[in-house]
Subunit: 185 residues, 2 copies
DNA sequence: AAAGACATGTAAAACGTTACATGATTGC
DNA sequence: GCAATCATGTAACGTTTTACATGTCTTT
């Protein structure tokens, strides 16, 4: 009676779009949903085995068998598609955040203000990097505008870009306030 | 060679501000850092034991021993404070997000647009609730403006309020787009 | 008297990361 | 020829949640 493990849904969702290997799946996760979901090989490969055992996905023959490198391409089954749709339609979403940056800031009173300033600056750098990646991703999206999934990719990327922009605005203001405090001491 | 488990830092951070029982710690987590960090009793009590074993925190005598209900108040030790400061100063922060809402939206192409619309509306409701709680929290903060930790609480709450507002703006726009698509079909 | 909050704790299960192991293929 | 990337997989470890167990105190 396996519950809907989230990594299973990620895999089913990606396979619904196109057939992929475990390695491909990892790349897609890193490339496009990375900013709100992460996964490692150590969770992907075991999940693929489980999903295949339960007939939610199946291995498909490779057209090019002359290579010696093993490569297993998976495709979603009707049963898998059902499971994916069931999850999309009828489950409550849980959004789980672990912001170590905010945790540190919350406890910032234990150190001089310049430590918190550093924490925020580190955060800013990270966000700026992620933001520029997201913008590249968004630009690439405009090339595939006819894909039926386009709108959904667009909406998720927009979410990322807009929240990251807000983070940067907040960070700027937070730094200003902390600097004032720093000077008063 | 225990690594800096995050729950340990949460506990040390809270105890740096004031002495608390395990139950209090849970309440504080639920009440003030809940929007970016969660914890259960099942992680708090074992962590308290470990921290005490390592002399990072210690039990303090209760002034009112006439009650039969067991109640263990903990306070941070100098060694604990050192550990907290070390973490604040010298560790890289990792921010980990698991947005099931975005995951569903990203895979929205597998269902009709109104399913994704529902997902967003559910998200909106959740955010609105959280936002009003944060605003109450922010209001209460203005009463303790002289506390040295005030600025840090203020900055974290501001982060929450500002990102939640952005979420709502995004959600409105996303709904609009999805409704257009829904009508075109 | 009952419900709900206060209070602590444990055990099992789930889940995921890290690190390792192994080898093929591609690009410089 | 070497490095990087492609490709799959496992084992150990650590963390956390869920569910349960137990009992007290307060409020209605």
């Amino acid at each position: 009676m396996s519950q809907t493990r989230k990594i299973d849904m990620v895999i089913l969702g990606l396979l619904e779009h196109e057939n992929l290997t475990g390695y491909d799946i990892k790349k897609q996760i890193d490339g496009s949903i990375n900013f709100f979901w992460k996964a490692s090989f150590g969770s992907i490969y075991p999940a693929l085995k489980d999903l295949e055992k339960n007939a939610l996905i199946k291995k498909i023959k490779e057209d090019n068998p002359k290579t010696k490198r093993e490569k297993i391409i998976y495709s979603i089954t009707p049963k898998g598609r059902e499971k994916l749709i069931e999850w999309l339609k009828n489950s409550k979403s849980t959004n789980n955040l672990k912001y170590e940056t905010l945790l540190k800031l919350f406890f910032g009173g234990a150190t001089p203000p310049n430590i918190s300033l550093q924490t925020i600056e580190e955060f800013e750098e990270e966000i700026k990097e992620n933001l520029s990646l997201l913008k590249i991703y968004q630009k690439n999206l405009s090339n595939v505008i006819n894909d039926k999934d386009h709108i959904y990719y667009y909406l998720t990327v927009s979410f990322g870009i807009e929240t990251y922009n807000t983070y940067l605005v907040w960070a700027k203001e937070a730094k200003k306030l902390l600097k004032e405090i720093n000077n008063l001491q």
